[in-house]
Symmetry: C2
Subunit: 324 residues, 2 copies
């Protein structure tokens, strides 16, 4: 390092979710020193959002020793475009649902440091590669299973962005070409319509409505059933709920078999709320993958994220900042 350069031991990571924006100051070893949270909604403009965030960040930055100790900021956000540093038409963000917001440039100008932005699933993949179970891996696919299904694809140690920054939308490959479920994206039969947390709840509601099978879930108001209810019922031995997870996991395994034919990854890594179902989900994933995949790709590993759920997204976002 040049002697004239100040050592900058921290990066600020921002996990920008529909409800909360969590900022964390992170050192190079992945220790989160401090966090601060701002409510994401409730702003009419992106300018207001950024101004409030920057004000909230000041005490954290002072505690680090000033902005000169901060190398960069990394943001993981829904509908984030790495090439452009923008958030584009993000349905759950009131100040970005109908426009392209140059969020990286806005934070960079306000803070005086470089800022990189990527979509949330890509940030999770980078975080996993930097701090998690993917350390040392060069080729893997991260699948984030939450309200939707996101993905981050790593090829030769680098995140895949493709020609326009939107590569890795694996939640929107088609798994049912006939009578497929309507997906939030407006198309039919997408993986996300079945294998997200909302997809699991939807499968349970469908099966309750179209069969007479007994199930503890019948005690609930159908519209209020969540994937959490289904996994809890399954753990308590409810056959219908167990079959919902088996159906979901098997479809994920089939999807992974196709993904393997694309990039021959050494591992699939699962991340997000739905992974709390554990083996209930992962066993049918592995089983159907091994049954259906070409022998060329049979050796891929199936892993669940090793990062602590609450800080993983912040670490992932910060890792984007270290790469600037």
């Amino acid at each position: 390092m040049n002697n004239n350069e100040t050592i900058k031991p921290y990066v600020i990571g921002l996990d920008l979710g529909g409800t909360n924006s969590v900022f964390g100051s992170v050192d190079a070893r992945g220790n989160i020193k401090n966090t601060v949270t701002v409510k994401t909604g409730g702003f009419e403009t992106a300018e207001d959002y950024v101004a409030t965030c920057v004000a909230a960040l000041r005490p954290m930055i002072d505690e680090l020793g000033g902005i000169d100790t901060v190398k960069a900021m990394g943001i993981g956000a829904p509908n984030g475009n790495y090439y452009q540093g923008t958030i584009e038409y993000a349905p759950n963000l009131p100040w970005a649902h109908d426009k392209v917001v140059p969020l990286a440039a806005m934070f960079s100008e306000a803070l005086g440091i470089p800022v990189a932005l990527t979509n949330d699933a890509n940030a999770a993949a980078i975080g996993e590669m930097t701090y998690g179970v993917a350390r040392g891996m060069k080729n893997f696919i991260m699948l984030t299973l939450g309200t939707g299904v996101g993905s981050g694809i790593v090829i030769d140690g680098k995140l895949l962005y493709g020609s326009n920054g939107f590569a890795g939308e694996l939640g929107h490959v088609i798994m049912r070409r006939e009578n497929g479920r309507l997906c939030g994206c407006g198309r039919k039969g997408c993986l996300e319509a079945y294998c997200s947390a909302t997809g699991v709840a939807r499968t349970a509601r469908e099966w309750l409505a179209t069969t007479t099978r007994p199930s503890a879930l019948r005690a609930l108001i159908p519209e209020e059933i969540t994937s959490f209810h289904v996994s809890r019922a399954a753990e308590q031995g409810d056959g219908l709920a167990q079959d919902v997870y088996s159906f979901t996991g098997r479809m994920l395994g089939q999807a992974c078999a196709d993904f393997a034919a694309f990039s021959a990854p050494e591992a699939f890594i699962f991340f997000g709320g739905m992974t709390q179902a554990g083996e209930l989900l992962m066993k049918p994933v592995r089983d159907s993958y091994r049954e259906e995949v070409s022998p060329l790709f049979r050796d891929a590993a199936f892993l669940v994220s090793g990062l602590d759920g609450s800080s993983a997204a912040v670490l992932g976002a910060s890792a984007v900042g270290w790469d600037i």
Copy 2:
């Protein structure tokens, strides 16, 4: 260049097919100077095959000015593994159908030059990027439509090999999860079972057997129908034959829509015998892609290989050699 180094203006490309092995000496501008052809079958061992090839190459090498004018050799071969330089369990090669043959090392030792080997679809993609319509492209997917369906995927200007050298087996993603056709790979519903030349003939035979629709193809013995018969009938206005191509093209377009969600390519490039059907095939490909793809990927171009069919495979193979 170091003055002690000899200028080596040629690479030898080998297009290793099930019937013929075509060698060409190629200069850096993609001019094929000479070719020599050896029958691929008819050898009991890989050693015999290599010995015969090397003997056949001697006059060509002498004409170039000796082996010192040859930088390297590049091989495109079925079931070729770039990382290992091997051909592995290639069903159509008598001397490699039941084993792993270290073909690159064998030619390298016999000729005294570096030898690189990759699978035939990858070689086509590299050839297209070096000499064809993909010049200057950084992200594209090459689909080779012949007896089977092969693919070569280029990411950031480099061919995708994945963790084990077998990335890009897109002929074996599943397009029909229920009642799918048996594929040559032993699995069911693969893209290749429908969208290869043999798939086209199979679709025609199925429709002739299960419907009473009139068709000029009914004059032929069903087992003898090829994709060529179907395309000729379609061009002459045969409705059933036209619908076979529409069905085939639409499925290819659907598959491309899923591939786009993976790597966001700027173009899909089609190569191989089936592309001779021209717009009969390509129009339904484009139409169904645009109807079914996520708006994020709608701009991808659909191109047909610009390389002369007879020399494209040799040029593709030679391009692998230039990269050593």
